[in-house]
Amino acid sequence: MALWKPLSRWYGRRTEQEAELEKELRTDLELEAEEQQEAGVSVEEARYRALRSLGNVALVKEDVRKTWGWTWVEQFWQDLAYGVRGLRRNKGFTAVAALSLALGIGGNAAVFTLVNAVLLRRLPYPEPDRLVQVTGFYPKGAIVAMQQQSRTMDIAAYSTDSEVNLTGQGEAVRLMGSMVSANLFAVLGAEAQLGRVMRSRKDQLGSDRVVVLSNALWRRKFDSDPGIVGRMIAIDGAARQVIGVMPASFDFPSSNTQVWTPLHMDSSSSFDFWHTGFIPLIARLRSGTTLQQAQGEVRPLIEGILPLFPYPMARAWNADATAVPLQQFLIRDVRATLVVLQCAVALVLLIACCNVASLLLARSAVRQKEIALRAALGAGRGRVVRQLLTESMVLGFAGAVTGLGLAYGVLSIFKVVLPANTPGLADVRIDPRVVVFAGFLAVATGLVFGLLPALSASRWNLATTLRTAGRRAASTTGVSFRAALIAGEVALAVVLAVSAGLLVKSLWALAQVNPGFSPQQILTLRVSPNRSFCQQPSRCVALYDELLQRTQSITGVSAVSATNSLPLSGEIPAFPAELEGHPDAPGQALAPMLWAGAVTPEYFPMMRIPVLEGRVFTQADGENSELVAIVSAATAKRFWPGEDPIGKHVRPSWGQQPWRTVVGVVGDVRQYRVATELPDWINGVVYMPYPQAVGIDRQLPSSMTLLVRSDRDSQYVAGEIRGLVTELNPTVPVGDVRSLEAVVSSSKSQERSMMWLFLSFAASAVLLAAIGTYGVVSFSTTQRMYEMGVRVALGATRRNLFAMVLKLSLRLVLIGLAIGVVLAFALTRTLATFLYRVSARDPLIFLAVALLLVSVAVVAGFVPARRAARVDPMTALRAE
């Protein structure tokens, strides 16, 4: 309240000054009148002469006040009060204008909130611009060699999806973990909140049974125990010592990472060191080196370690690897989405501005007399313009406040367009930067939509305005300018409507895709024994055998099966493979990668995946029987075109595994995404019976997804299965309980929310354009009532008048449409990456949008056209 005292003192002094000035001028007036009277003029006449000699009192006062200073503050308050009063008097106008702006500003604020949190985020580490991602995936041996040989970077490694079990802490749970090189935290420059982070010297082979916990896990599972450091906990069945807890803000590699464990760097196991577990790298540029130097070093580094591999590694391996600034790497997938969204909301805001500007123009035409009157009372032109601008700023801020509220409400919808693990997405919120951004928009839009109407309104001609009745005097330039605004508005709305249409069609095309299986009535659950539990394959086989059998006997369950990877769930099980007739060419090219499904016999019939040739697996395909495999139709066609795939052989290309015989061919399944069957680096799909499905790590997959078909409530079934699992092995967590339909649906959630966003943008744009068109047509019809009356008097029919007004509306929209189509043609290409089986220039969508806008024109023109047709010539002519 430090400001209050001087302010109130200033105000008190000010009122005093004002009263004194009033008194001073009044006494002057009295003196003058008395002198005139003394000269022998009548009282009345003396007073009149005195007033004349004094001139424009308001202007004199204004000029005196200017010498006092502070006038601009005062005038601003006056303008503000005047503006608010004016806006409150015109509730309808204010509501439409403020809501238009709120839509525009709200959308922009919401998208900017995302951009602010994700794109503009400074990585929460010291000197973040020196952090880089070394692209590609590397085995431990390569990591160690690169760490030693690099002269420009300090390199660290991390795995992204190392799920582990936490047991002995209440119910067994599956955690998202990351195995990291011990120097990762040092490279990032991150410190623990409690205890310590890993250190390269300390957490070496031999003393690497340690774990770092995430803040969220520590709070949830350990009740924020301050004495947690030093305690032993069971991770994947083995005891590890907790050395530290990270702060809540630490989210590397992903916001859902819960534990960090050291990479087990055991060079004595050539298999573990060179064959498996390829993971990504980050690095910090050493002081004095530049990004370019680091980028130049990556390729030679990789070529230098090729000879170290204990097997011939293809020269093409990581051939395109380079160093990319980490921030840029982290946002690579979301950047395009956010940019497109920001452009779309900017268009909505532009449309809103056009609309409000056009409304203001209409209002200023009506207010010409008011403005002329103010001028007559002594307001300068600058003063009038300033006052009108203050009014539009008030509107802008009203829009911004409402818009921020709107943004707060819709933020969660906007968030869905980005993958949930996008770095920074967790702390998306409306922060001061967003509020400043909205304030900036309010001022900018206030200027944009307010300046032209204000200037044109102040270009008065006092004499004509006051003399005429007002109606015919309204300037025609205002109308043509408004028409141009509306045409522009329609053009922008066309761009948004076409974009929305394309996305709708794209999502429709996605919905038409046959995923290759039917997800109806299937419940899925993830069952995850420790990896070590499956070191003896027979233990794991027995566990799942028992579990499937017992599940089958739950009342209401009609079928049950298991798979290591659910289609469309984001898991990618793959290995490099050798296929018969395609000899591995070591050192020349990379072996083909195959999607490796491990399934139980019931899987194909349950999923209704058709068997095209041969047979499916049976219970007879056990651990010790002949090794068999099933391939997908596309895989058979790709590797053995024109040949019978049955009887061909396939095997993982590393680790000298025995050949497997292909016994069947099944239909193709959308494994990866609905739009793309497989990631581009995977060349085919092979299924193996679960008991035989040892991967290149010579282990069976331990974590499996159960598929259950039942007519009972899924909660009940899930509960029963949880009970069964606990009974069989209490250390095995059960998670990810959801229906297969939900899995399929959530795989399309990004596309869906993108479509809904654009649809709502387009709907608001078209609505605004419709309101704008109606406003202009209706206004100019009112202006031309006299002319209409004349026309009727001269013999024009009602139909003529109706058509004339409707034509006006159509002409406005058609001009906008033409511009909009050209714009859309040029702009929608940026949407191409979001479209599935729809051309960015799909003629059907363009046609549909054109029809939509023509009908908008007809609807917007209909009411004024009817009013024109009903004009009574007598009334219209007399009104003037």
Binding site: E20, L21, K23, E24, L25, T27, D28, L31, E32, S53, L54, G55, N56, L59, V60, D63, V64, K66, T67, W68, A375, A376, G380, L462
Partner: protein, 115 residues
């Protein structure tokens, strides 16, 4: 509407005339205007729109002070302006500047040889 004020006095000249008028003693706005009008034989018309802003400007600069005092002849309060020492100095400066300018103009307009 145009807002050109008929400032028939040169910029700054009105200030000088006001200060000069006040050297005779205290005066209120109306008196000052009348005095200038009268002594210039009604050639110089002082408009209120110029007079009052000028008075308030001079007051702000500290060259005059103003006080509400009872009028000498009538039964009412009027705002009387007085010259301050700073105002006196200013008047002297403006006077000498004016003399210089007026003399210079005179020499250009009516050169000696023409007489």
């Amino acid at each position: 509407m145009t807002r050109e004020r008929r400032t028939e006095l040169l910029q700054g000249t009105l200030d000088m005339l006001i200060l000069r008028t006040l050297r005779l003693g205290r005066a209120h706005g109306h008196e000052i205007a009348k005095h200038i009008q009268r002594t210039s034989d009604d050639v110089l018309q002082v408009e209120h729109g110029s007079l009052y802003p000028a008075l308030h400007r001079l007051e702000r600069k500290g060259w005059v002070t103003a006080r509400w005092e009872a009028a000498s002849d009538r039964n009412r309060e009027l705002k009387y302006y007085r010259l301050t020492p700073a105002g006196k100095k200013q008047l002297a400066a403006e006077e000498s500047k004016w003399k210089q300018v007026a003399g210079a103009i005179a020499r250009v307009m009516w050169p000696a040889e023409e007489n």
